[in-house]
Subunit: 887 residues, 2 copies
């Protein structure tokens, strides 16, 4: 026989914490606390199964429910020693929702239930406080009418205001017993007027009305919306908790409060919370009175003059501290609790795992491991790997004042302040003079790389979480707020406007890339702390994980940062980013616009020594760790000169007519550059480009190898391969360069040649491509673009709608689409390994730093993930968590 | 033991036609003719295996070869009755190459071999013609020196010119015996001077020199290039044919000629060929003398005054006609032959299957079936389906005079003449006045559709075989020459220039879309003939094929044309093309630039009745055949107004500020429109667009159904689906429109809803998509773009290099990439059918009209192919050929 009702408290507890699905979070934890012997007001929980049955059976209850609820009320009465509806010694109860997942404020609650015209007098006598009894009654009428009878609470607030006006009162506390009697009468009259029938005096009618209202609130509009947003199924249902009322507002020996067992913001092990003397729970939330600290230490630290609970109620405080200790030992986690003190007796009303900042999560987990509460492996599982990112960047001081101008997308975490500039050249110039700058652009392009590097942070008015600005900023570890549509950025006028405010070049702005906020002026910051707990957790993660973690880096700064963050090699060194430097872009442009091989070779000869130096420095920094270098990939027109000045400059360097050059520039434009003349297609049509790059890599590797006294074995990656023919032709050319060098220098460079798998065709033909390729690196950004047929740059126009409608669970450029793109990755891995069992497999798209995607890479047996430097710790932890899943 | 040499002729023939791989085409057919008892000068063939062995063994011959060649020479001597090198009765031979595949003119030949200072005198005596003998000798010295001794033939031509100058001669025939003696002496002296040794007098040395030269010519540069271009493997090798010389230049009872057994241009069954009296084979080719016709009928038809062979050599002619009859019966195909008449005796020197026009191929095959030579099924296999296209369009009269200005790519077959115009509006205007126009543009865009429709033909200076102009023109059946880079098209100046010639608006141009030629003025044309043989072949094809053939059509003209060509339904009706009409583009633009739903609905309400009429007319024309309608697909910005005038027009219609409109236009621009906000993404974000389209389709279907007295069941196709969620959401909306209409009209429209499979993800997730979709149509154009990551519009920059390097066998947008794109099609078909066994499967990309791709569709079990109207016959035949392959 199904049990519809579970009692708790008074030594007769039927539920427990692991019945959360049946009893909801609140009910299960109340039962658990009761079982632990903690002081919980007695009550019972009507299960979530009743909710499901209620909706399945046309909003009717199971037959047996009435009797079980009666038994539950008997249980409460017998424990409390008072009776529901008894005019002399009335029992009051609360009726609250409680779903499996927390849905704060979404559903309804009724307090003080059981009051009517008779019991209110009994309560007045019993408590010796007539005013308290009447206050409770009027609160009950208002809440019950609003929740159960659909008489809006505004009606009652108006009546109270009218009464106060008439009497010249300001505060509720100005009202005396007589006033409250009048108000109660007025409230009841209003209900009668609205409903055509009096306010229900039958307490059982009140009880069933409240239970029904809670079940119905499961299907109210805001609850449905909340569930949709958080992916909570409709059929879970809510439980209903009926519990004896306890009162924190019966005098100065009463109080109510909320607390965390540790500091949820820093993770420090100290009682953290607030209480109010002579108050009900709503009063704490309402914020009318200033809450007091629990401990003397907290009071002193915050400079408060109000006494701490440790002082005013030392015994209760000691009892509370003991309860906290028990709860932590029992739950093995930091708890968020609610309590009430009624006449110096402590009552526990709720406990649950407390929400905490990333910093606190880390400290609490590590401390608990040190305390022996949990094992180091459990520490790994408890930390949300995605949140680690927050720990690696400066953040805004929690209580700093902020003058928020607008809000954009939190595109790259961390906070930054600086003088705003509107061009990348300006950013570079000011930064060279030692200024901190924020680069503000409508959107960024590859030509802004130097400005983004020079800036402390980047701000754009267009583009999404995966726009150029966002992706590059994350890669560089620069804070970025993108797509701040409210800003009008006037690059020509060197200013931005938002509403009626104007920010001009040089004005100080602060951006918070973790929240998307854009603020005027400088805001106080907190610097990250990478040693201590952080380092220990990373160490534990490294012991557990199987996946190697590399980084995507092409600058010495990035390479060094990544090594500090624990990168075990470079998985993607993009050579094109090296081409945008101010001192070489002219030569690069000269190469591109050359219309014959000779012209290209002349320009390339200027680039060769610079490329060689780039690589040599990276090899030195990586000191023998693997370095995967991708040959030139992007559509050539990304490098093209645009302005007349740029065209003139390149024309002069190349010795051609600017008009001819302009023609050539136009020829190189493409309708869909993403699918155009780029990647290995450049290597096929302009062999000399890849030849020079290979030569630069080999020379640098031999030089660096000699300096390090060890072999440097670069991994040369051919991008955008679609066919085996492309790979074979280009590999042969690379080999020829190596042969030539061997003849010249008497030493043959050591190297691997592999490819990006970033086109569906390459994934499908991986078997034959692997016959020539020694490694595959999945370029899941482009693979997602081609598999979905979605341009990352243009997705903003519809991707939000897709996510809103639930067509996509999330942005597939952030977390890998396992079903579609993932199948291609799996196919390629299988087919590749079939023809070359020792094929090295990695991923180097943005997904390499996304925990869910890292888990997928682990499951399908890749060898490594590569991500931007600031994501390396995230990937290390995510890889460890994925490995733990195997056990 | 390997046989290196095969003899033929004189009753001792060892080879036969099916030993082509071993003996080469020429050798095999000489042997076959000899076996048939036809008059073939005796000879022998040195096999292709010798060539292979020669190159494998460092250019040395197999040991046994010398003896076998000697035996071969003995064979010739015994049959002819003269001896090689005999000063009294010398045997002369020819030494020719002959590979497995025809490689015309690529390798070397030596004639009259066996002449030296002694044998030339014997030959003079034996022939009674000293001049003939000396002429033969000087020809031999020149040819042998050039081919074998690397003394360029220019040396000898110079000497001859010097002699003629000195004597005041104009023609070779002015030279007498004495002259030729002097010339021969001079030739020999030149060889001696060049080589430091005399011209070889030893005939065996001559023979082996010539054999070696032929084998070596297999590896000359032009032969290697030819093989690369035609995909002929290097290791096939060539055979060498040594054959007794016969002479067509020993007097007026001698002749030489070439002939086809039927007319290779029309296919008519009549002897077709030319001969020259008293001439050698080279003289026919050299074109110095006018050749004569074989038959009196041909002579009369061509108005020639020179006598026909039928008149001058009636017995030989009768013998020749008999040989032709025998060859056709034997080979069961039209033959291309070479013959020589020596002193009234006919000698056959070559036979092979004759090249022919598409028209002739059709007629010959059908006639042969009627003659009982071949079965109707064989007719199907013999016609190159791709060539059928040529039969469906007007063509230039073969002998019409042409003033060729330039040559572009043969982008869409057929010829057209008209007044050249430079804008689509101008084309439409002039066409409306009854003029024929040729539209010339740098390149075309979707906004040119109306102009392309109005034009007779399209000419562009940019873009490849799969550019917008080419694809749309093929779809419309309009002749098109694209990418004519030599033309400078000055749209603003309303003229085009090529070299130093200028063509202005209104000047007449003719283009030939089958050859790419662009000609000044009007050129005479021949109209296509679709009944008769063509209809019979199509009938046979329809009996055999399993694949249904539909068409891609959206205009009434196209729908009607396609039905005439045998289309069994519409597989792709693109609704966007209907939007470009001048009288509705403003409303369409108004819809696009509207920034809210209401604005879009207002504009869409203007479009609804037009769309309904479009569909109703198409349903009427298709009379119950299936019609698949694709909802709006292209990136919205394709419809955007560009010029100030257009923006003003739309702003006025929509009642908005032109400046606001311009901003919105800029917002809608995309970096990669192919991967942007298009296809079903439009339907998701702007539901009202698809709702209106569905409504127009349903209303038209109900109306047309009522008129036809039958149910019209449109197939609604959702484009660019990547996920099941998109499909389900859009299908639900379509169903809702149908429900609404059922309520309004009391009749629910009948319809199917399916999707294009044109993204890799859709192919992979076909199983779940098919749970909701009733049909799949493979959009292989886009699927090729995304699978390869190649934009069709931008591929011109590298695709040629890819094909040249052999990385791709051909353009994957023309013939489906079976290995890559094909695997996705196969996966989707399998997974789709697994979840819905009666899923209807078709293809509607450009590939639907490509024979190889049609064969692939047949093999993997699709239900239909859909192609542009003019490709329907091609697809019907290709489908039949694919079905024949199954047997």
């Amino acid at each position: 026989m199904t049990n519809w009702v579970y009692t708790f408290g008074g030594g007769k507890t039927e539920g427990r914490a692991d019945l959360r699905d049946l009893l909801g979070g609140k009910g299960a934890n109340l039962a658990e606390m009761a079982s632990l012997g903690l002081p919980v007001p007695p009550g019972f929980t009507i299960t979530t199964e009743v909710c499901a049955a209620y909706y399945e059976n046309d909003r009717t209850y199971p037959e047996a429910l009435a009797a079980e609820v009666e038994a539950g009320m008997d249980h409460i009465e017998s424990v409390v020693g008072s009776r529901f509806g008894d005019p002399e010694n009335p029992l009051l109860v609360s009726v609250r929702s409680g779903a499996r997942a927390s849905m704060p404020g979404m559903m309804d609650t009724v307090l003080n239930l059981g009051l009517n015209d008779e019991t209110v007098e009994g309560m007045a006598r019993k408590s010796g406080d007539e005013r308290f009894a009447l206050d409770s009654y009027r609160r009950f009428i208002q809440m019950y009418s609003d929740v159960v009878l659909s008489v809006d609470h505004g009606n009652f607030e108006d009546l109270l205001d009218v009464h106060k006006d008439r009497k010249g009162y300001t505060l509720d506390t100005d009202l005396g017993v007589g006033d409250w009697r009048q108000v109660v009468a007025a409230f009841k009259a209003k209900v009668g007027e609205r409903l055509g029938s009096p306010f229900p005096q039958n307490v059982r009618e009140q009880l069933w009305g409240a239970i029904g209202a809670v079940f119905q609130s499961w299907m109210n509009r805001r609850a449905i919306t909340y569930r949709r947003l958080h992916g909570i199924p409709d059929d879970w249902g809510t439980a209903v908790n009926v519990q004896a009322m306890v009162f924190g507002n019966m005098g100065d020996d009463c109080a109510t409060g909320v607390a965390f067992t540790r500091d949820p913001s820093t993770g420090e092990k100290r009682l953290y919370g607030e209480y109010l003397v002579n108050a009900q729970g709503e009063d704490v939330v309402a914020g009318i009175r200033t809450p007091q600290h629990l401990t003397i230490a907290a009071r002193d630290a915050n400079g408060s003059r109000l006494p701490a609970m440790e002082e005013t109620m030392p015994e209760v405080f000691a009892r509370l501290a003991e309860v906290f200790r028990k709860l932590e030992i029992h739950y093995r986690d930091m708890q968020d609790i609610e309590f009430t003190v009624q006449r110096n007796k402590l009552w526990m009303l709720q406990t649950r795992s407390g929400k905490r900042t990333a910093r606190a999560a880390l400290k609490i987990a590590v401390d608990m491991a040190d305390e022996g509460l949990i094992a180091p492996r459990e520490v790994l599982a408890r930390i949300d790997s995605a949140s680690l990112d927050q720990l690696l960047h400066p953040t805004l001081a929690a209580d700093a004042e902020r003058d928020v101008l607008a809000r954009g997308l939190p595109a790259s975490p961390g906070a930054a302040s600086g003088a705003v500039v509107f061009t990348s050249d300006d950013a570079e110039r000011l930064a060279a003079e030692g200024d901190k700058v924020i680069l503000a652009r409508t959107e960024t392009s590859p030509e802004d790389i130097h400005g983004m590097h020079a800036a402390q942070g980047i701000l754009t008015s267009r583009g999404g979480m995966t726009s150029h600005a966002a992706v590059v900023a994350r890669g560089m570890g620069r804070p970025c707020v993108s797509g701040a549509g409210a800003l009008h950025i006037d690059e020509a006028g060197q200013r931005l406007t938002v509403g009626n405010r104007t920010v001009s070049r040089g004005d100080i702005l602060t951006i918070d890339g973790s929240t998307g906020e854009i603020m005027a002026g400088e805001v106080e910051m907190v610097q990250p702390e990478l040693s201590g707990d952080f380092a220990r957790v990373m160490g534990w993660a490294d012991e557990v994980r199987r996946l190697e973690v590399r980084t995507n880096a092409e600058t010495p700064v990035d390479a060094r940062t990544a090594r500090e963050f624990g990168a075990e090699g470079i998985g993607l060194c993009r050579t094109e980013h090296m081409f945008f430097d101010a001192d070489r872009i002219v030569a690069v442009r000269e190469m591109i616009v050359a219309d014959d091989e000779e012209g290209r070779r002349t320009a390339l000869d200027k680039i060769l020594p610079m490329q060689r130096d780039d690589f040599a420095e990276i090899f030195r920094i990586m000191a023998g760790l693997p370095v995967t270098i991708r040959l030139l990939d992007p559509p050539l027109h990304e490098f093209l000169p645009h302005t007349d000045e740029e065209i003139g400059e390149v024309a002069a360097a190349a010795g051609v007519d600017p008009a001819v050059l302009r023609l050539r520039v136009n020829q190189l434009r493409e309708s869909n550059p993403m699918l155009g003349h780029r990647g290995c297609r450049l290597g096929i049509t302009y062999p000399e480009i890849y030849e020079i790059q290979a030569r630069a890599i080999f020379e640098a590797a031999l030089d660096a190898g000699a300096a390090l006294g060890a072999t440097v074995r670069p991994e040369i990656m051919l991008p955008l391969i679609a066919t085996r023919g492309e790979f074979d032709m280009l590999r042969a050319r690379v080999d020829r360069v190596a042969d030539g060098l061997a003849a010249e220098r008497g030493e043959r460079p050591a190297y691997l040649v592999g490819t990006m798998i970033e086109l569906p065709r390459a994934a499908l033909r991986a078997g034959e491509i692997a016959e020539g390729a020694e490694f595959f690196s999945f370029g899941t950004n482009d693979l997602t673009q081609t598999t979905f047929g979605i341009s990352r740059d243009d997705a903003a126009g519809f991707l939000d709608d897709y996510i809103r409608h639930g067509i996509l669970a999330g942005d597939p450029f952030v977390s890998l689409d396992v079903d579609g793109v993932g199948e291609l990755v799996r196919i390629a891995a299988e087919r590749g390994r079939e023809s070359r069992p020792d094929l090295k497999l990695g991923i180097c798209g943005e997904h390499g730093g996304d925990p869910a995607s890292v888990a997928f890479c682990h499951r399908i047996g890749l060898d490594y993930v590569s991500c931007s430097p600031y994501r390396v710790p995230v990937a290390r932890l995510a890889a460890a968590q994925a490995a733990l899943e195997d056990d």
